[in-house]
Symmetry: C3
Subunit: 663 residues, 3 copies
């Protein structure tokens, strides 16, 4: 689409006589696209049914004169005060029964029919107006769906919607009772109308089966909410794309589902959010979020909000150091972003996000952020069309499963066990070896990968066992871990076989006992080195598998920690604990070697190598995530196309390889 760079802009926040200056500065900086209006409901419909679109048309005209195209957000995240006053029933209710009021955003219940009707009417009016406007290239549905709705909503509409969802899923209540095992604690239902949403109980817990279905329902509700908008938009907006700005590892909604009906996904990338423990997320974790976005539809994507300054609400994060904004932007491009839209143009002077800084400071005078990003755009922008649409060509996949993640949120087992942390530990091990990785769904086709890791495959989900067995049978290397094969899809423990249940044959082992390591880690020996397994310990009895690492002390002395089992043409590995970073790194090296997986190249710690592989060759990004200058030694066949071999602190360079695979 040839946009490369854009910016999120709120003309409604500024005097109209400033718009021209803003548009000029944007164009001078090299921006080509502007997202507008995703929080502008009250401005677009200031009273019930009174649509005022002229101001936005004037903004489009100003932008158009500078060659800037527009993405419009459907502003449904902000039902206005007049609507809430007329229909207070729209307000959401939390799990403690408290109504969450007007004054933030998304003070709404996505099951509420009135809210849905008003939302769809507004979207329709906008699509009618701009659906064939050449200045508008696409649409963003709502904003960060799932955000602000974590624990919401438990109102009567939502309860009825949940019950109806369950009725569709289970057919009759007897089947639900059997599937969930409601016989436990006399929780048997004689009608769907008796089923609660998971509000407070005297013991503050609900059936894990109810809780898992509640999370699925909640995700489906959000997907349905978006679908209703897409159904309005599609027929009225021919030639315009529809996307949505996701939030990396946020997991209120299953992004694989949400992405299905979009043309491509977008992502909001904030490397240093104010809510994070300083110094914020690591380069590897940022990379993982980007690779997950690429995985949602297995195609390139947009960044719809790329951090452009310090973030903050009541508190602020540390200010990005000179170079970091450009580096992080380059990282987004390296991992598959075809267009990067910066959030936001100018630091807002009003409301909750006064300290969520934009490219320009509050007073609107371009400063160091403007200069830094203008420089980046000038260098990187011209290269980007050459690898538009390309991804990394990874040979390794890690399965990222929302169902598994939710199941561990419901039952973490150990207080410190977290599905995403576990998965990210695996990811980091490959990232540290400069090995590209795809993050894929439970349902994705695995053929073409040499090595697949499916961490914490706790629930048996439809088709997965069969697909993994075929993958190994055809020569793949598969890694499974502790807590695999424990439960069925309804979050009920399987009894048909010893653990790991349906995977026992594939893995060549049984787990007849296990130990939640509440009293600390188990020492593990691998390849002559000392490591640790923490949080959980499966007591593994090999039934054909070969022991690769084992406990060398403590309660579990000599028990296996890691095993391998040859099956068909392939190999199935098992990791019965949570390895520390060193053990993950060593294991990733072993697996890569055995599966003949190659790194992009070798680099020193803190330097990330990422490639975009096109039919003509690779573009390799060398990203210096350190505060020191770094001299990088490229492979012989690589040609520097941007930056310098001697990278400054937080600097980067780009190399091109003429022919794929030539080194």
């Amino acid at each position: 689409m040839n946009f490369q760079f854009g910016v999120d802009y709120y003309p409604e926040h500024w005097p109209e006589d400033r718009w021209e200056t803003d548009a000029r500065l944007m164009a001078e900086m090299g921006l080509k696209v502007v997202r507008l209006a995703e929080f502008a409901w009250a401005k677009l419909e200031p009273a019930d049914g009174r649509f005022e679109f002229a101001w936005l048309d004037r903004a489009l005209a100003v932008l158009d004169r500078r060659g800037l195209k527009v993405v419009l957000g459907t502003p449904t995240a902000c039902p206005p005060a007049w609507l809430i006053e007329a229909h207070p029933d729209i307000l959401p209710v939390d799990s403690q029964g408290r109504v969450r009021g007007f004054g933030g955003r998304h003070h709404d219940c996505q099951s509420n029919p009135v809210y849905r009707r008003y939302s769809e009417r507004l979207v329709r009016a906008m699509a009618d107006h701009w659906g064939k406007d050449a200045r508008v290239v696409g649409w963003q549905t709502d904003n960060e769906l799932g955000n602000s709705h974590d624990d919401l909503c438990h109102c009567g509409h939502c309860r009825a919607a949940f019950q109806a969802w369950l009725a569709r899923r289970y057919g009759d209540v007897a089947r639900l009772n059997t599937s969930w095992g409601t016989v436990f604690w006399s929780q048997t239902y004689s009608s769907f109308s008796q089923i609660p949403t998971p509000t407070l109980t005297p013991v503050n817990t609900h059936s894990p089966s109810l809780l898992l279905d509640w999370k699925r329902f909640h995700s489906d509700l959000i997907v349905d909410f978006q679908r209703a908008q897409i159904e309005v938009l599609r027929p009225l907006t021919p030639g315009q794309f529809i996307t949505h700005n996701c939030m990396g590892f946020a997991n209120t909604v299953d992004y694989f589902d949400l992405a299905r009906e979009l043309d491509f996904v977008s992502h909001d990338q904030y490397p240093v959010g104010f809510w994070e423990v300083p110094p914020g997320r690591s380069a590897a974790d940022l990379a993982a979020a980007l690779d997950l976005m690429a995985g949602l539809k297995r195609r390139s994507f947009w960044i719809m909000e790329q951090q452009s300054g310090p973030t903050g609400w009541q508190i602020l994060a540390k200010t990005p150091r000179p170079g970091q904004l450009a580096l992080w932007t380059a990282q987004s491009v390296a991992h598959g972003a075809d267009t990067v839209v910066f959030f936001r143009w100018r630091s807002c002077t009003v409301g909750t996000e006064q300290y969520w800084h934009g490219i320009l400071p509050h007073n609107g005078v371009p400063g160091r952020r403007y200069a830094e990003l203008k420089g980046l755009i000038g260098g990187l922008g011209p290269l980007m069309p050459r690898f538009e649409g390309a991804l990394s060509g990874a040979e390794v996949a890690i399965v990222h499963s929302y169902d598994q993640n939710w199941a561990f949120e419901i039952q973490p087992h150990h207080p410190d066990l977290d599905y995403q942390k576990y998965l990210l530990a695996v990811y980091r091990a490959f990232h540290g070896r400069q090995i590209p990785v795809d993050l894929v769904s439970d349902a994705d086709d695995l053929r073409g990968y040499k090595l697949v890791v499916a961490p914490l495959a706790f629930l048996e989900l439809p088709g997965v066992v069969q697909r993994l067995k075929e993958f190994v049978g055809e020569g793949g290397h598969l890694v499974l871990t502790m807590r695999t094969g424990v439960k069925d899809q309804a979050n009920v423990c399987q009894t048909s076989a010893p653990l790991p249940g349906p995977y026992a044959d594939l893995l060549g082992l049984e787990v007849l006992d296990y130990d939640c390591l509440r009293d600390g880690p188990v020492p593990v020996e691998f390849d002559g080195q000392k490591h640790q397994g923490s949080l959980w310990w499966d007591v593994v009895t090999p039934k054909g598998a070969q022991v690769v690492a084992w406990a060398d002390g403590g309660d579990h002395k000599s028990e296996p920690a890691v095993t391998r089992n040859g099956v068909g043409k392939g190999t199935a590995w098992y990791v019965g604990t949570q390895p520390d970073a060193g053990l993950w790194a060593a294991l990733a090296g072993l697996w890569a070697a055995q599966a003949a997986v190659e790194p992009v190249a070798i680099a020193q710690a803190g330097v990330e190598l990422v490639r975009r592989r096109t039919a003509e060759g690779d573009f390799v990004f060398v990203l210096n995530h350190t505060a020191e200058a770094v001299a990088f030694e490229p492979k012989a066949a690589w040609h520097l196309v941007l930056g310098e071999a001697l990278m400054p602190p937080w600097g980067f360079s780009v190399y091109e390889t003429r022919k794929r695979g030539v080194q």
Copy 2:
């Protein structure tokens, strides 16, 4: 009754064709009794007034064919969904005004007349059906009464019940006003109808007098709830016992009161609960809980739930090491359990307690837990009839008072001061010296003991002063502590005398000042050793008492820490602070020596000696609570009847003494 061992079983959780296998495995293991049905309301009454008992009769028949007798639980802890749907008013309301919903257990208000009516109707139907069934040997009322109800309920029914309870206690509101001192902050009531339950206030506190009566009312309500069931059961179940499964030091309900109308008490013993800070409770604390159970009716008891595997809800505790399940069971027997019922038979696959493991794993195939407990039963079971009904014959008593405990929950004084921790510190000092201790109530007869410790005797409760004075006068050794004699029964400070109020003469001292040690402990010297007093410091002025230990530094240098006062034939000791473990141990040694109290014998650290004293002699349990093998040297007159002198890690042995007192 000759049951020795049993198990908690949920036939309704499993296919009926599995029951036969379960019963066979139980019998082969040596089990003799099975508890059933305590959570089966929805199964026994699937719709209003439709009782379905046939399934349970079939289960009884299967068990009966294997010689297994049955205890039935009244399943009132789980009012079913149809009942809550028809009568949502049954749902309890917490102190923040939030309705606690269906989906856990005990989503009920024990004051609610509808819930009471339905509960009693079900109990009556069950008693009608099984009250004369020879396969049924007894009944358990509800389940862990007080559990799940900690902060509940504050609904209108409960408020009215509280007001009525107060009207009965005080007669007229003027007397309540005087007793509570409602003149403070204008809290005077002109009618009982104005009195709140302790819900949120602007300052988040209530009158300490109201709070103490609220705790008493809440306890009485639970006792009354049980009494209503007992009144139904008694006439209909001749020859069948009635018990209840208590929870050690849980203190929502006064177990002395709850136990009064039971034939004997039962206890649920979970040495490693998932909610505890690893590594869980010490052997001494486990022993104390058992001794409290023995103290409730001063007779032997049942364990109705003995841990049989890892515990867990959302998180899990560490898995018991090989030997620990048997060791903990032996400890329960050693301290007075005549029957031990394991919780549970098979790990549940559904609902909140999927990880509260049973003897069998999820897949139902006997494993190491089955083997370990089968071995235990084979060894210990045959011995148990020889000491059925016997207790330890302790010469030392510690007063455990619910009123005092509640008073310190309301006003802990120091943030770290806790009545139970203080009491357990005293208990541990004697336990560490292998000295048997009884835990007794405020109202118990103390004659027959040589030494009595009444820690934190803060409130002056009816008859206690007189009883303690008589105990000392007749030659006993009495230990009182800091914060003794401060208040009257209504939680109002006494003014009639300097502290320790009515005990001043007995103790031979006055406390004219005190100091909450918020800035750290006071160094204390006793017997040439350095110790510490923490949390609180009474500034003691001896009026006849002799100083035994004193501060040797800091703000309170040279002030007394411990005193003794000879009175009549006896001695009254005072401890004006919270000693550290070393000082408690030293003091326990001093007191035992002075009161001529003998230990069971001497053993190394980590080994517990417990006796059951019969008319024919003692049975002494030697329990190795360590992960190392231990060689124990018995007294000469002891004969090994179970185990070995060289105990394995987590092992135990039993000795018999031919004649009591012969060493």
Copy 3:
């Protein structure tokens, strides 16, 4: 007024036949005034409209016979149970929508018209009865207004009152929309009726503009609540004063506003409150609270509650050491208290404050606290008329702004940034140098001071810029800090100029970037010494200012930390970070030297020097805040008038200088 010392007394808590003893003991101790009745509503009006004043008249008579005058509190902090029962709508509602119930105090909504009507009727009845009674010298309105109301109230009355307040402030809703910037997140209001109070929202935050106006409204509501009482009292109580007991740095209500209609302010001084982290507040922080009280009306004041023993509710603070009660009382007098009223006479036996100890212990027998304070009164009392009304004659002022404080509560920027802590750090620097400081308001006249510090002058408040510029122009030394000039009065960021906005010229610098130091402090060099700046770092570009201190390492190496700028006859200093204590101390020394500010004298650490400056000369208090004896060397011209040069631990002495300024 010649009262010097008094006590808070609750005759209604004690048998009437004790009153005579109490009055005698008070008189013997030297007390002259007694505060009564501020929590006695239920006793004064036991039923609707039935006023019973006779008991209080009898108490007044008893006190009068001993020469004790009386201050009456209006007992509106405790609406009685009968009133709440009849009008439950009076109960306040918190921000989570929970009704806060009866059972503490101030279970009321200050917007509620029924509560207001009953309150004013009672005040009128009392004023009618005692307004011309010579035994009554004055009135205290309510009690600690703002206490217990922190988050209250969000009921319908309060919401309507807030909307009406906003309508008065902004005139029409369009102006409010513009001022607040409600265009952000579509929060535009089409009528005042749509505006919420800041209750829970889905994102748990509100517009910072709404939040700041909510705090202002809440403060104004409390001022209005007091005003209504004053309007009743004034005409009916000629010759009697009206005061209120404030709580130092509590900031629910703007005390400058609350003080305006009072004759003088009073203060409650609790050096060791049970809620504080041991060992409690420092001598400097205690001094600052007293100086703030003096600043409210720039005149001397009363202590209405001076700590007289250990404090406690559920938990207790450490007991004051011998000497501390007298020392703290002397400190109150030293900083401007003309009368000190002790809280309370006798330790209460009932209700929440059983452990908030009085001069007498629970049993009523005078002990060490009585003796200590009697000694103090005998010594200090006779001196006090000689400096009644005098203050310190400070040459330094620190601006204490409620608006700025509230703005930083709403947006702390850094999690550890706190307006009051920042301000107190400045205060401590001068206090440590024995330099008297006044705490003044945004609106106070600054002429007459040599040096003014206005920390964190974040919001541009009316007239302040002009006043500060004039102050410097006329030769003053002004210190401004990080986050100065950021926002307008509505909490919206200014855009007219680079930071520090309107102060850029005065300070001779620009701040084009800044950094929230979430990753730790910046090393700062000043005067050859190493210090630290933490929490925040302004990237200062001098535009004429001279750099006085700078970063000597880290991300901000060489950037300015402190600057000075000569303007007109004066000097404007800027501190772009939060200095550590050492740097503040060094800077205070520099500023004092440059501004020719003199300390009272020199003293060792832990000794505080405070003066009261009269036309005839100074009275200098030398306060030993240490646990060691201290020998103080007075200046030559000083004459010891109380105590000894060698002060005992926690002792003090008083010196007189014959002629002001002679040393």
